[in-house]
């Protein structure tokens, strides 16, 4: 039985519950159900068979793509965090409030253009005859093949995630109580030890969330591996495209999607535990 206060709470939560249900849980369940369907004569038929799962998880192509995607997304999260940190540090500790706000606003500007447009821009810049190779050629290096390689994919991933990682990191660094940093200094910590022993632990939540966001966005990205990485080796997102194109195999693509969602859920849960969890 629901008492009055329970009913009150439920009423306020109802819109959120309905919204989440309609736009998240229901489609997800639908997709999960679809993995058991059959495709006959290029048409999907509701059924309950395990063939899709057996066919996808039993193939080396799937697992190769799975590990490649996982590894590259993790690497993107790591590289983005390392590359973003000096920028975030300067923004948080060396700039005034007004300057910081302006730069953070500028970091949002890239999102005004489609990521696809930015990927095409990289195609021009990184091309065999592009400006980067022209400059490197001027000092007797190259030309380097940067497109259609894992390097190209990584450039794409970083373009996608770096601004967000900088924003996350800057917020968490700027939120550190300055007295903590001074206290470390006062207690004999060198600047490097202050960074390692106080600033990084104090900003742990934001730093981890930034890395996880970079991982999640890279993990599901299709544009970078397809347009800058030349689709080789295929990532899970490319595998999904290929599977749907070949014989309308939507149920098998759904298997890949479900596997991706499970992986992301597991990663996000582990990261949140690490980010907010208490030590000891």
């Amino acid at each position: 039985m629901i008492d009055r206060s329970g009913l009150y709470r439920l009423t306020w939560r109802l819109p959120l519950l309905l919204w989440q249900g309609a736009f998240f849980v229901v489609p997800l369940c639908f997709m999960a159900a679809m993995t058991f369907w059959l495709v006959q004569n290029y048409r999907m038929e509701p059924a309950f068979v395990w063939t899709n799962w057996q066919r996808m998880l039993g193939r080396a192509v799937f697992w190769d793509a799975y590990w490649v995607t996982l590894w590259r997304a993790a690497l993107a999260g790591l590289i983005a965090s390392v590359v973003a940190f000096p920028a975030s540090y300067v923004l948080a500790f060396r700039m005034g409030e007004a300057g910081r706000r302006f730069v953070l606003l500028c970091l949002i500007v890239p999102f005004f253009t489609s990521f696809l447009v930015r990927a095409y821009a990289w195609q021009v810049i990184l091309a065999e005859s592009g400006p980067v190779n022209a400059v490197l050629g001027g000092v007797g290096l190259g030309p380097f093949t940067m497109l259609n390689s894992s390097f190209g994919t990584m450039v794409g991933y970083l373009t996608l995630v770096l601004p967000l990682v900088v924003i996350f990191q800057t917020w968490s660094l700027a939120a550190i109580d300055r007295a903590l940093i001074e206290a470390a200094w006062n207690l004999g910590a060198t600047p490097v030890k202050t960074l390692l022993r106080v600033i990084l632990p104090a900003a742990r939540t934001g730093l981890l969330l930034g890395a996880v966001f970079a991982f999640i966005m890279s993990f599901g990205d299709f544009v970078s591996p397809a347009y800058l990485g030349g689709s080789k080796p295929p990532t899970l997102s490319i595998l999904i495209i290929d599977t749907t194109k070949s014989g309308q195999q939507w149920p098998r693509a759904a298997v890949v999607s479900v596997m991706m969602i499970v992986t992301l859920f597991a990663t996000a849960a582990a990261a949140l535990r690490l980010a907010y969890g208490r030590r000891g």
């Binding site: 007295a179 903590l180 001074e182 006062n186 207690l187 004999g188 910590a189």
Partner: protein
């Protein structure tokens, strides 16, 4: 109390600190002796915290010199000094346990794990925190955190401890307890305490010497009693509180003021006198002899040591008198009721003389 003159631990000489064009400290000359408990006191913005932070190396003086133990400290970075500071916010590390907080300073100095743990545990025990070592900071009460902060600062056994309004965030009853803890600790350790506060009660209760600062300068240095009884300027007299200040012109041993003429031992010319609230007698009728000011009663306030009564003179200026509970019961003052204030001319302090 140690005599600060022979070998001062700390010497400020012509120290000046500017933030842009804003003056935080104008020109500071100050000696602090070994084993001395010095309170830097003043209203906010007077430069007391800046002075403390320069001592810790968290700020660099714009001009002048600061020496500790005879060594010029101006360019010594904070982490190479042993001048631990207890922050107003305590600044305990929330991501470390209690014992990890305490051993932080030892760890930064490369003390081996076993030794630093045992020294940290010894300090926790000394602070009455045994059994709390594995706790997180947010699992402690305000008073316990205070003691963790003290242990963390003292674990390296420094010659000097700096305290920046460490009690201002505590409940009133804890403040008194912690005052006791601090004075006892300072006496037992025999090290120098430099204590910044805006609270007279804290400074006067604990310090050997009080330094009153205003507008980036030292207004007066002295023992608590000296500052309280013989303030050198109107600024000090007003800041210390519970003083009545009367300004006027002296001619032939008589001070003529807006409140009347009073006998006084001062040379001719303009003068300001201080009549401490606890030397004022409240009367229902004008006294037969001696100074008297006619006032109207405003309100009373219970202070730990007695009751402060507030009055208003004819020109609107405020007068204070300290009375006992029995005296208050006798007087039964109503707001607006007329009284006469009198005092012993011998106990009047003439300022600036």
């Amino acid at each position: 109390m140690t005599d600060p003159t022979p070998t001062p631990l700390v010497q400020f000489r012509g120290v000046r600190k500017l933030y842009g064009s804003a003056i935080a400290v104008k020109s500071l000359d100050l000696d602090i002796g070994r084993g001395e408990f010095v309170a830097l006191m003043g209203p906010s913005g007077c430069g007391k915290t800046t002075t403390l932070r320069m001592l810790a190396g968290l700020e660099t003086p714009t001009a002048g010199s600061i020496t500790i133990g005879g060594k010029l400290m101006n360019d010594v970075p904070a982490h190479q000094r042993d001048t631990p500071l207890v922050w107003q916010s305590l600044a305990l590390f929330p991501f470390l346990s209690v014992v990890e907080n305490v051993e932080f300073g030892l760890r930064m100095r490369g003390v081996a794990a076993g030794e630093r743990r045992s020294r940290a545990m010894m300090w926790l025990e000394r602070m009455g925190l045994q059994g709390f070592e594995a706790r997180r900071i947010d699992q402690l009460s305000g008073g316990q955190r205070q003691r963790v902060a003290l242990a963390r600062s003292l674990v390296t056994e420094p010659e000097m401890l700096l305290l920046d309004e460490p009690l201002s965030a505590l409940d009133a009853h804890l403040v008194i307890r912690m005052q006791g803890v601090l004075t006892k600790l300072q006496r037992e350790l025999g090290i120098t305490f430099v204590y910044v506060t805006h609270s007279h009660s804290e400074a006067f209760a604990m310090a050997d010497r009080v330094v009153i600062m205003g507008h980036g300068e030292i207004e007066q240095i002295g023992a608590p009693r000296e500052i309280f009884r013989t303030p050198r300027s109107r600024f000090v007299a007003e800041f210390v509180g519970r003083n009545n200040i009367i300004a006027g012109v002296v001619a032939g041993g008589i001070l003529s003021s807006e409140h009347g003429a009073f006998p006084i031992a001062a040379p001719d010319g303009s003068a300001e006198i201080v009549v401490a609230a606890d030397t004022v007698t409240v009367l229902r009728a004008p006294p037969e002899a001696g100074p008297a000011v006619k006032v109207a009663f405003l309100s009373e306030e219970f202070a730990g040591t007695g009751i402060i009564c507030y009055f208003e003179a004819a020109d609107g200026s405020e007068f204070k008198a300290q009375v006992t509970e029995e005296q208050l019961a006798d007087l039964q003052p109503e707001p607006g009721a007329a009284f006469w204030l009198s005092w012993d001319p011998a106990r009047v302090h003439v300022m600036g003389g």
